[in-house]
């Protein structure tokens, strides 16, 4: 069973979203995603200042076998990206929800529930996909 923390929201493309008190969000890939990809060996994160549209491919995570795009969950501007992943891509495997975060965004509009899944819905989604 993959780990689905209760304090996050999720996308159908297996990103997780953590809302901060200042209105910004942090984005990464779920435990299910890292486990499906296998050992990650290369990560490309978006540049700070880049403006993203919801659903836009903005990061790349590569395992030994395949490259996968990571999509922005919302419209917004990148405020930070995780530089540690350049030398330690394995953080995505070992700590997908903490040390393996990919980037932070300032969303154009306050985050609403609609487009993102609750932990319960994501768990159900994983079960249906399997």
């Amino acid at each position: 069973m993959s780990n689905v923390p209760n304090d996050l929201r999720y996308t159908k493309s297996h990103e997780w979203v953590r809302a901060a008190s200042d209105g910004s969000i942090e984005v990464g890939i779920s435990d299910h995603a890292q486990s499906s990809l296998g050992d990650l060996v290369f990560v490309e994160v978006p540049e700070v200042g880049r403006v993203l549209r919801a659903g836009e491919a903005c990061a790349v995570v590569e395992s030994v076998k395949a490259a996968s795009d990571v999509y922005s969950p919302v419209n917004g501007r990148v405020t930070a990206s995780n530089a540690a992943l350049a030398t330690q891509p394995e953080l995505l495997n070992h700590e997908p929800y903490t040390g393996g975060w990919l980037f932070r965004l300032q969303p154009d509009a306050p985050l609403e529930g609609g487009a993102l899944m609750s932990p319960a819905d994501y768990t159900k989604y994983l079960a249906e996909e399997a």
Partner: protein
Amino acid sequence: MGLKTALYDTHVEQGAKIVDFGGWDMPLHYGSQIEEHHAVRRDAGMFDVSHMGVVDVRGVRVREFLQNLLANDVGRLRTPGKALYSCMLLPSGGVIDDLIVYFLSDTWFRLVVNAGTRNKDLLWIRRHAAAFGVTVLEHHDLAMIAVQGPNAREKTLAVLPGALRPAASDLKPFFGVALESWFIARTGYTGEDGFEVTLPAGAAAATWTALAAHGVQPAGLGARDTLRLEAGMNLYGNDMDEDHHPLESGLAWTVAFLPKEREFIGRQALEGLRDGGLELVGLVLEDRGVLRSHQKILPSGEVTSGTFSPTLNRSIALARVPRTGLSRVHVEIRGKPHAASIVKPPFVRHGKALISL
């Protein structure tokens, strides 16, 4: 639902992630492909390669038959047990398959062929065998375990049936020995020492479990691919196929043009291509990123196999490029050019990097 080897249930019990490979349900990894890779380079790992085809060819004229069928010359095999790597070619020079042939006696050779090509191989072999009065027997009751790494032989010898141990222990590199229904060969696809053990399917699970108890790490197709690529070994379907001949696939060394009078299938076509335009080279990516098959090379060419090399901590590849003598090219990754240096494979042998980074 694909075909399953005798070890399928064992793989599932050991937590393997199963994927389709040439119609077979095979383990991709058992948790971490990179750890499995390092286990083979540093200690010992084992692969289920039971999906490969084991084909015995027998007859008074079997040597003559194989001298016609294969691009390498089995005439070179004079000591029983000796193995030879060869391509089997179409008249056009395209590669039907690459295989290992063992000389077992004057009337008996054994071929080990790829899983994905075994059916077309058998049709081709049978079609040509008839004229030489050679019988062709494909085994369906065998399993094959490749145990590879610096400690692989020692750990394998510890679990082999006692009667097989002395002969297995005496094997020189690239030799095999048949004993009852077992066949032990000092060969592999990783660039490390080790054995490929062919054994009755019914004995496979117990042998695998005994090897695991002796500290041999189960390893999947993922690690098998990174290991063979580091070792500069071709993969059929990626680095050569029916549309590409051996001389543009890094396999000129496996084509025996001498003796001149030996007629083998594909010879005529290859004679006209000996100074041909393309070659297979090794690439090391200078930037971060991962080379993948089918990426475009600038000014010209294509990556045929690419991966991340766990030993070198860099991305490496085999690529088909024009023979221009360049030492550096660019590879297009997601629309952007990335510099890569051209090197001569292998990249890694016996645990050591052979290229300077």
